[in-house]
């Protein structure tokens, strides 16, 4: 057991912190109001190697590991939850899934381009009528002579309208239920029959684009299939178990931002002749925020560490981390709102943004209820 970061990990944390504070923070609030996504920033993050952590050097990565990726995600998430999305969209989602299920040609074609952000990634699971019930999806991929024809709709897809390399999950044989699902690599914005549209009505994560996709007889080539027909559900669960780690690390970043902001305010703000940090009820709030952040962080680092040790399919640890980090971020942002009082209710302070961003974590990559179901089933399995 060793809780000490290596010198290299410390140096990477410093890069993440510097990048977030110097590159993202100066325009964060303005970008938030404008709902601005900056593709050039994805490229800038890629150039530093942020999306290569879990990818071997032969495919353009740096193999620094899931732990390093989680630490970077936390540092970015502390400044902007929106800007942690690319870790999932470029790396943990498509690139790492292709690394594990793709053929050599697919690996060569897509992974380096996702790692260096020549391609903008995405993954499309959720539909208007299927969220938690992944196997209940309606999108189909009908086999034809030289490929597949996609029909259906996807909803709440990060990067939908800006991506040119998405994993798309669809049924090749509905009669086989979840064993009839397959996974495809699709260019969402340059394929006839595919239409994408932005969803602009979100509560938060305004600098991370989200959209919907419709497939109407959209023809994709035979080699778009990832793995074998029928592997889709398995691939999807594998992918979620990695992108979930990214979400959990985002939650840790938000939770840290919340207590840092609340502590700073509580020490500055004077009421009844003393800083409010000296009142016991505020102290209780600050103490709980710090303790829960530390606990969430350790769960995330443990899950990431296990993956680096070769245990990629560590579902229980990842769901535990994701559930707790999501709930912690929501609670911390709620508490920070209370500590800052009226100022928290103004977009002049970042806390209302943390609050709006945190709420997404209870829904994405499996709701909190789904995480609890996974955890309970694992611990009661006979």
């Amino acid at each position: 057991m060793n809780f000490q970061f290596t010198e290299e990990q410390k140096a990477m944390i410093e890069v993440g912190k510097d990048f977030a504070e110097k590159e993202i923070l100066p325009t964060q609030e303005e970008d938030e109001k404008a709902h601005r996504f900056r593709p050039e920033r994805v490229k800038q993050m890629a150039e530093l190697g942020f999306f290569g952590c879990v990818i071997p050097e032969e495919y353009g990565g740096n193999a620094t590991g899931h732990l390093c990726a989680a630490l970077l995600t936390e540092e970015i998430g502390r400044i902007s939850a929106s800007w942690t999305l690319p870790f999932n969209m470029q790396m943990w989602g498509p690139a790492f899934t292709i690394l594990n299920f793709g053929n050599e040609e697919q690996k060569q074609k897509y992974i380096p381009a996702l790692v260096n952000a020549d391609l903008i990634g995405a993954f499309a699971i959720t539909e208007p009528n299927s969220g938690s019930d992944v196997a209940g999806m309606g999108t189909t991929a009908t086999k034809v002579d030289d490929g597949y024809v996609l029909n259906g709709q996807k909803m709440w897809i990060s990067n939908a309208h800006v991506s040119n390399c998405s994993l798309v999950y669809a049924y090749t044989d509905k009669s086989k239920k979840h064993k009839g699902m397959s996974c495809f690599l699709v260019d969402l914005n340059n394929t006839p029959g595919i239409k994408t549209a932005a969803i602009e009505t979100k509560l938060g994560l305004h600098c991370a684009p989200t959209g919907e996709i419709s497939f109407e007889d959209a023809k994709i080539p035979k080699d778009a299939l990832l793995g074998n027909e029928g592997d889709g559900f398995k691939i999807c669960m594998f992918q979620l178990n990695n992108t979930r780690l990214g979400c959990a690390a985002r939650g840790v970043g938000i939770a840290r931002a919340c207590h840092e902001e609340a502590i700073k305010y509580a020490m500055d703000r004077t009421q009844f002749g003393q800083p409010i940090a000296e009142f016991q009820m505020i102290q209780e709030q600050l103490a709980e925020m710090v303790v829960e952040y530390e606990a969430a962080r350790l769960l995330v680092l443990k899950a990431a560490f296990e993956k680096d040790q070769g245990n990629i399919g560590n579902t229980l640890s990842v769901s535990t981390a994701k559930f707790f980090a999501a709930e912690t971020a929501v609670k911390a942002s709620n508490t920070a709102m209370k500590v800052l009082g009226s100022y928290s209710y103004s977009s002049e302070y970042p806390v209302e943004r943390f609050f709006r961003d945190a709420k997404s974590l209870q829904a994405v990559e499996g709701t909190s209820n789904i995480q609890k179901m996974i955890i309970a089933r694992a611990v009661t399995a006979k």
Binding site: E7, E8, A11, M12, E14, F19, G49, N62, T64
Partner: protein, 249 residues
């Protein structure tokens, strides 16, 4: 071109400094150390020179064991090798440091010696000038632009009167001012490679200090602000205080 960059480890500027029990040093407990920000400009400049016209960069640092951490940062940015002059005592003044650095520099080739204009811990701003004096070479302080042509360096530095443009023969010492460049972020891959680059360690040969810190004190607490009134009616009282009490106008 042989470029040597001198770097110092300093407390992170976000650190809250506490005076140690002896009353004349900084309590290192909980203090995060970083590369001196002005030295970081020097490292970046060295890398840019190398990228533009080729060259060989050596990082030189005097300090305790963890000075190697900031040397590795310079490596991750693009420096290739370095010498660590080890000193765990911290019992030295700027002249002793400059002599030790100069003694090491005499053993290695150099055309350009770069360092920050000051270290942000004690702000002495002495070492660059002292090193140049000991080596008997020119020094240009607080540079904001550096170019080379025909074996000479052309420098810009800012003064209250405007911008000075200077020319100097090499070898020379240059101390970096903010604005010289914007240091790059190390890439993850280069952070991993940095640990494999060569780093020589030697004991620093330090003269006994001629300058002793007698005592450190915290700055006095700031007095509370004063509200003299509101709107135009308050202006005369404000002007009166600014002229007679604060004496700023």
């Amino acid at each position: 071109m042989n470029i040597v960059v001198c770097v110092k480890r300093v407390p992170d500027t976000e650190t809250k400094i506490r005076i140690a029990g002896d009353g004349k040093s900084i309590d290192p407990t909980g203090v995060e150390f970083v590369i001196n920000p002005f030295d970081e400009f020097a490292v970046e400049e060295a890398i840019r020179i190398k990228e533009k016209q080729g060259g060989d960069i050596t990082v030189l640092s005097l300090g305790p064991a963890d000075a190697q951490t900031i040397m590795r940062k310079a490596y991750a940015m693009g420096a290739e090798k370095g010498v660590h002059l080890s000193d765990e005592s911290g019992n030295c003044d700027t002249l002793a440091i400059a002599k030790a650095l100069a003694a090491q520099l005499k053993e290695m080739p150099y055309d350009v010696i770069l360092m920050g204009k000051q270290a942000v811990d004690l702000d002495d701003s002495c070492v660059g000038v002292q090193v140049a004096n000991i080596l008997n070479i020119p020094v240009v302080t607080r540079i904001i632009k550096l170019e080379f042509a025909n074996g000479k360096a052309k420098i810009e530095r800012e003064s209250d009167a405007g911008t000075e443009i200077l020319e100097v023969t090499l070898p020379a010492v240059f101390t970096a001012e903010k604005g010289l460049n914007e240091p790059r972020y190390p890439k993850l891959m280069d952070i991993m490679k940095a640990k494999k680059k060569p780093l020589d360690q030697k004991n620093a040969q330090l003269d006994p200090p001629k300058l002793q810190v007698v005592k450190m004190e915290y700055p006095p607490a700031r007095a509370a602000g004063k509200i003299v009134g509101e709107g135009a009616d308050a202006a005369p009282a404000l002007v009166n205080l600014l002229v007679n009490e604060a004496k700023v106008i």
